[in-house]
């Protein structure tokens, strides 16, 4: 299992979701993607993306102006 730490801080939409999709392409089922961002849109966007792709949203954290989304890759064929 690999953990991908993706730093999207300082980027606005679609930066974080673009970085998430690029990491997802490299990842395998069971891998973890931890996406850090300052754009508050990252949480709803990542939730929607997980719902639509059927990957698992493990948790989301908010620390002031920073957000962290943890996703487990589960939907790849």
């Amino acid at each position: 299992m690999t953990t991908y730490n993706i730093d999207s801080k300082g980027t606005a939409c679609p930066g974080p979701i673009t970085d998430l999709i690029r990491a997802y392409r490299k990842a395998s089922n069971g891998d973890i993607i931890i996406l850090q961002a300052t754009d508050p849109g990252v949480v709803p966007d990542a939730k929607a993306w997980c719902g639509m792709t059927k990957n698992e949203l493990v948790n989301t954290k908010e620390n002031g102006t920073e957000y962290e989304v943890t996703i487990k890759v589960t939907a790849k064929k």
Partner: protein, 402 residues
């Protein structure tokens, strides 16, 4: 006193506007041979890349987009007709592909753009026709489109990143327009695919174009992550195992930076150059810069970015050399036009700090896009900087402070 050498790697939009602006601001120093500017690029022809869509979907002749590179280089700028093989920023040295010749520099600006990377998606190259590689490849789409009477055309985003964010949507609208104008739309399906959760990633623009997709009967498949293409079966498979049949494939491939940037300590793991997003200097080097598609800042990969970033970087180099003027900081301003068909267009406008605006498609926007196309070549000589300043209300840079 030794000559201050400025090296420009790449003679595309970014390299040319940066050179023009440097020549304008350092004319005295160049005349007195205190400063020299050299462009490194083996290309003999430059192409107007936003015109590829016109070639692909309206049948514009590829020759109309081409200009000899030598006619575009500003007077007073030297040209080395060779691509860069390696860049050693610490030791101020470029080695060219041609004969491994070495050149030293005091300042360097990397503006080498990006290009389609078909290696990421098996089968895509064999199956696809794109409007990114060059004008001649784009013309093959129009030759195909002329023969289409039925079946499914699939357009959209096959991988990230790619240049010109609105262009996959424009392809959908322009294919639709062509087929309607030729009364062949009834038996042809157009399907747009994207790995994003919306038809256009930025919500305000998505709100504008989503109704148009319904109105024009263009089908969309969001969160479709293209994994591979089977040209024999004419089938696309997603990372999640979904399949989609096509008859004609005009997808946007993922893009890659120039080869010599990969594996360097100043680029990320894919080779995109790491820069400060405001003054565009490369990591810790205040005499090295990267502009346009080739850097990793969170803006669109588009010609307008290369243009605006080039103006900022040229100003800062000239200010540093001449000792007069104020430093400029790029604001992340973007201004990408999106044709929505039938002489209408919208614009994707925003900055690092200002979200993308909701702009409705109009004939006026389309006209503005066409005017910008007409003045493109002259603008690379810096002739229309006043218009850029007026048009962008100077909000593409801030002065003096970060």
């Amino acid at each position: 006193m030794s000559v201050i050498k400025i090296a420009m790697i790449g003679s595309g939009a970014g390299g040319l506007i940066t050179s023009s602006k440097l020549v304008a601001q350092l004319s005295e120093e160049i005349k007195q041979e205190k400063v020299s500017i050299t462009i490194f690029d083996k290309k003999e022809t430059q192409e107007f890349q936003p015109g590829y869509l016109e070639v692909a979907f309206r049948g514009t002749r590829p020759a109309k987009l081409k200009r000899p590179a030598e006619n575009l280089v500003p007077r007073g700028v030297n040209v080395v007709h060779a691509n860069c093989a390696s860049l050693d920023i610490d030791n101020h040295q470029i080695i060219t592909e041609k004969n491994q010749e070495k050149y030293d520099f005091d300042y360097v600006v990397v503006s080498t753009g990006c290009s389609p990377d078909y290696s990421q998606i098996p089968g895509l190259k064999e199956a696809n026709l794109d409007f990114y590689t060059d004008a001649d490849v784009s013309s093959r789409i129009f030759s195909t489109l002329e023969t289409v009477k039925s079946g499914r055309i699939v357009v959209g985003i096959a991988g990230l990143p790619y240049k010109c964010p609105p262009s996959p949507n424009e392809a959908a609208f322009m294919a639709d327009e062509y087929l309607r104008r030729h009364e062949r739309r009834k038996n042809v399906d157009i399907t747009f695919i994207t790995p994003y959760t919306r038809i256009y990633t930025a919500e305000p623009i998505n709100e504008v174009i989503e109704p148009l997709y319904s109105e024009r009967n263009i089908e969309s498949r969001t969160v479709f992550n293209t994994d591979s293409v089977d040209p024999a079966k004419k089938e696309i498979t997603s990372l999640e195992g979904e399949t989609l049949k096509y008859d004609y494939l005009f997808l946007t491939p993922p893009h890659k930076p120039a080869e010599f940037l990969k594996g360097t300590d100043f680029s990320d793991d894919e080779g995109w150059v790491k820069v400060d997003k405001k003054d565009l200097h490369i990591t810790d080097h205040d005499y090295a810069f990267a502009i346009g598609d080739t850097n990793n800042i969170p803006t669109s990969k588009a010609g307008v970015e290369a243009h605006l970033e080039g103006i900022v970087v040229a100003n800062n180099i000239a200010t540093n050399i001449s000792g007069s003027g104020s430093k400029h900081f790029f604001t992340g301003r973007t201004q990408c036009s999106m044709e929505t068909g039938f002489h209408h267009a919208t614009f994707v406008v925003g900055t690092y700090d200002r979200p993308v605006e909701k702009i409705k498609p109009s004939i006026m926007n389309y006209t503005e896009k066409k005017v910008m196309e007409e003045i493109y070549w002259a603008s690379l000589h810096g002739h229309y900087e006043w218009l850029f300043k007026y048009h962008f209300k100077k909000d593409y840079f801030s002065e003096g402070t970060s």
